[in-house]
């Protein structure tokens, strides 16, 4: 919303000293429902996508995918077993040997451009499917996930015939078949982050979507067919941990790329020890969002809200630890509480919804458990008095103040709409607290002072630093962590390098 604060009319006297009175909305000013009604064109049943065709799983087993917004069944998804994973890797290896590696980069790129365009054509349909399947607000799926996924295909398409520029002095050659496992928080976008650079570099792929969010992945298979991508270049196997273990442990892939929890990432790193396979990991985070007393506080509060409540906080780089400079701590907390009282929580399909549904019952339980620990350990909790839908998985935006570094809510990744507020006095203390975590994915800095931004962006041990902004992403911008947040980067020239070997 454009700010009107700068346009001061000469007839309106400027208030001096007194803060503007808070607008009282109560429940008098509720929004009318604004449901998104486009048809997501879901099939009642999704099969695996192997060797260019939809195939039933060898076991004949299917599992339900539900809408976390109302707990209704959306579709049933084929469960890939070991034999299906074998078939997918065999198809990927055949495609690599017979077509994809022989194809000039220019032609590979054109397939990726086609995929980007076809996804743009069906953006609205995919956004609705993404929201139904994952629970994120439709405005986010529509304005962020789907267009950004298309942008990733478009960006990487252009790399396919320019690989000699990725690593000056060396040539980038494909690795072969790549196995990829992606999470449920940004199903389509994570798929694009993984697929696009792998294909551009000349690899073929077997990918597993998360078990709660397989639908847009398998819908994308329709686009791959429409784009006439050669069979076997991309294969999708759906399922849960067992399918993932079969994929990661398979002898065929030359590389595994995983996005998910640090716990599973470590397990994968162990399981690949001694195999000579390449590995990239994009794991958890516990980002510090640091607000100094000279920051533009209203903008900072918007950034804090976006940082922790974007996608219900199901974001590995979420700004889940707010570090506020003591002189403005009370003011920031007051503004923050006021701001989250007007967040609209509820039906993900409503275009006005700010916070949608928690992705699964299991995740809702985990959030609840960690929030309970925060209360038990003595932090002060604030939740706005909003009404939640009767059916579906929902959690109120939650702010804990009086949090100390030893609290679980300050150390563990909650992956939900829960913010822990800590304070600091000096720059050194802010840096020390921010870095005092095993994670190192992202960080935020809010200050008006340029030299301080540059100092902090140097000293914060995090792969992405947002200064006076938060949760910004772009295909050209490398993303990935320090320390136990994983290794390797996705996006940009640095990301391309992860999908090839230097010759």
């Amino acid at each position: 919303m454009p700010s009107t604060a700068a346009k001061k009319s000469p007839r309106v006297p400027v208030r001096s000293g007194r803060p503007a009175p808070e607008l009282v909305f109560g429940d008098l000013w509720t929004f009318d429902p604004a449901p998104e009604t486009a048809d997501p064109k879901l099939k009642p049943r999704y099969d695996l996508f192997i060797d260019g065709a939809f195939v039933a799983p060898k076991s004949g087993r299917y599992f339900d995918s539900i809408n976390p917004g109302n707990e209704q069944k959306l579709a049933e998804i084929a469960l890939a077993g070991r034999e299906d994973v074998d078939a997918a890797f065999a198809a990927a290896q055949r495609a690599f040997d017979s077509t994809w590696r022989r194809l000039p980069g220019r032609e590979r790129g054109k397939y990726l451009f086609r995929i980007a365009r076809l996804l743009q054509d069906r953006a609205r349909e995919f956004a609705v499917a993404e929201t139904l399947d994952g629970g994120k607000p439709i405005k986010e799926a529509r304005d962020f996930d789907v267009p950004m996924a298309a942008a990733h295909f478009f960006y990487h398409a252009g790399w396919a015939d320019k690989l000699e520029y990725v690593a000056p002095g060396r040539r980038l050659e494909p690795l072969g078949v790549v196995g990829q496992v992606i999470p449920w928080n940004f199903p389509l976008l994570m798929l694009a982050w993984k697929l696009a650079p792998a294909l551009a570099a000349g690899n073929t792929v077997v990918l597993k979507p998360a078990e709660t969010t397989s639908i847009t992945c398998l819908k994308l298979a329709e686009i791959l067919q429409d784009a006439e991508l050669p069979p076997g270049v991309v294969n999708f196997v759906a399922g849960a941990g067992e399918t993932g273990a079969a994929l990661v442990g398979h002898p065929t892939p030359a590389k595994i790329a995983f996005t998910g929890s640090t716990e599973v990432g470590k397990h994968i790193q162990r399981s690949l020890a001694g195999t000579g396979k390449k590995l990239t990991l994009e794991l958890g985070g516990k980002a510090a969002n640091i607000v100094f007393d000279d920051a533009p506080l209203d903008q900072a509060v918007e950034g804090i809200v976006n940082g922790i409540f974007f996608n219900q906080g199901h974001v590995c780089c979420a700004g889940s630890r707010l570090l506020v400079h003591e002189p403005v701590a009370d003011a920031v907390l007051a503004k923050l509480k006021q701001r989250i009282r007007v967040l609209s929580v509820g039906d993900p399909m409503d275009k006005n919804t700010d916070i949608g549904a928690i992705n699964s019952a299991a995740q809702l339980h985990r959030i609840g458990e960690l929030v309970a620990s925060g209360r038990k350990e003595g932090a002060e909790m604030y939740q706005p008095p909003c009404r939640l839908p009767a059916k579906g998985f929902y959690f109120r935006p939650t702010v804990f103040s009086g949090v100390s570094m030893s609290h679980r809510i300050a150390r563990e990744e909650i992956f939900g709409p829960v913010l822990s507020v800590l304070t600091f006095r000096t720059v050194e203390e802010a840096v020390e607290k921010a870095n005092n975590t095993a994670y190192g994915l992202s960080a935020g800095v809010w200050t008006d002072k340029g030299s301080r931004i540059l100092k902090l962006s140097t000293e914060l041990k995090a792969g992405v630093v947002w200064a006076n902004t938060y949760n910004k992403f772009d295909p050209t911008s490398p993303f990935g962590g320090y320390k136990e947040s994983g290794f390797g980067r996705e996006g940009g020239r640095q990301g391309m390098l992860e999908y090839g070997q230097l010759a």
């Binding site: 001694g274 992405v464 940009g492």
Partner: protein, 288 residues
């Protein structure tokens, strides 16, 4: 009457000082003829932990040095190696290398230091960049050192292998704890003496002598080692990777096919520096 030479007590260079193992243990090394040469400290896991502590302490100061300064210090180390060329060649010959091969190894080692010295203020321009994001933000990706990196040198070539692994790691501001060749630890003893006179701050490079079998497990699992650069065989690779997973440690195996391959120009590259860099991307809005 012939003069009795004064023999040197070999001591590895750790934290800017020449140490004995905290355990007091040593192991004898023999020259190519099988004659006793000296007793070398058999460093322990505790020595390794102490060295990591020294490296961690030296890290921030070293990383804050300007790239130009780091380049000059690496160049100075090259000068030190060149100045002691004859002594180094003599040492390698005594332990079994031919004079020609020894001379090539030492000269390549000095050249390699000069090669990486020259990269100090350039790799950033090759590996980092500004990213044209589709929003009103200035977005740039720069590299940063990882922190403390463990190095496990090859047995052969003892000197060139160690220098080839250490130089690309420290040029970017990392600090190192390195395990010397088990077969020829004396190369690392001499290198330590050159490090001590090269303007390199104490603790930036810490050299341990001892047995791989004893120290590999601690290299693998020490949580303050953020990366490992090792020239080791299959079994040790697996052990290092298994341990590394405990703290999501970066592991890179630098392994030219043969001892001779370490001499080649393609055994050195900006991408060897890249293995122990983190990439940091910073966003800032553009506007009034």
């Amino acid at each position: 009457m012939s003069r009795l030479p004064i023999t040197k007590t070999p001591k590895p260079y750790v934290g800017g000082a020449f140490i004995r193992s905290e355990s007091g243990r040593t192991f004898p090394v023999r020259d190519a003829s099988g004659a006793f040469y000296a007793n070398v400290p058999q460093c322990t896991r505790k020595d390794l932990r102490n060295a990591v502590e020294a490296a961690a302490k030296a890290g921030p100061g070293w990383a804050r040095r300007t790239a130009y300064n780091r380049g000059q210090i690496l160049y100075r180390l090259g000068e030190m190696v060149e100045a002691r060329r004859d002594e180094l060649v003599g040492m390698l010959v005594r332990f079994g290398e031919s004079r020609t091969a020894a001379a090539r190894e030492v000269e390549t080692a000095a050249d390699r230091l000069v090669y990486y010295a020259g990269w100090a203020d350039k790799y950033e321009q090759v590996l980092g960049n500004v990213n044209p994001v589709a929003s009103p933000h200035f977005n740039f990706t720069v590299t940063e050192p990882m922190g403390v990196v463990g190095v496990i040198a090859p047995d052969v070539p003892a000197l060139l292998g160690l220098i080839s692994l250490v130089a690309p790691v420290i040029v970017s501001g990392n600090t190192v704890v390195a395990l010397a060749s088990e077969r020829l630890p004396y190369a690392a003893i001499l290198l330590g003496e050159m490090l001590a006179t090269s303007d390199l701050p104490g603790g930036v490079v810490n050299l341990l002598t001892g047995f791989r079998a004893e120290l590999v497990p601690t290299f693998a699992t020490h949580a303050h080692l953020r990366g490992l650069s090792a020239a080791v065989g299959a079994a040790e690779r697996k052990a290092l990777q298994l341990g590394a997973a405990e703290s999501v440690k970066r592991v890179h195996f630098a392994a030219p096919e043969s001892p001779a391959a370490w001499l080649a120009d393609d055994a050195q590259s900006a991408y060897a520096i890249r293995e122990f860099l983190e990439f940091k991307t910073t966003w800032h809005p553009v506007g009034a």
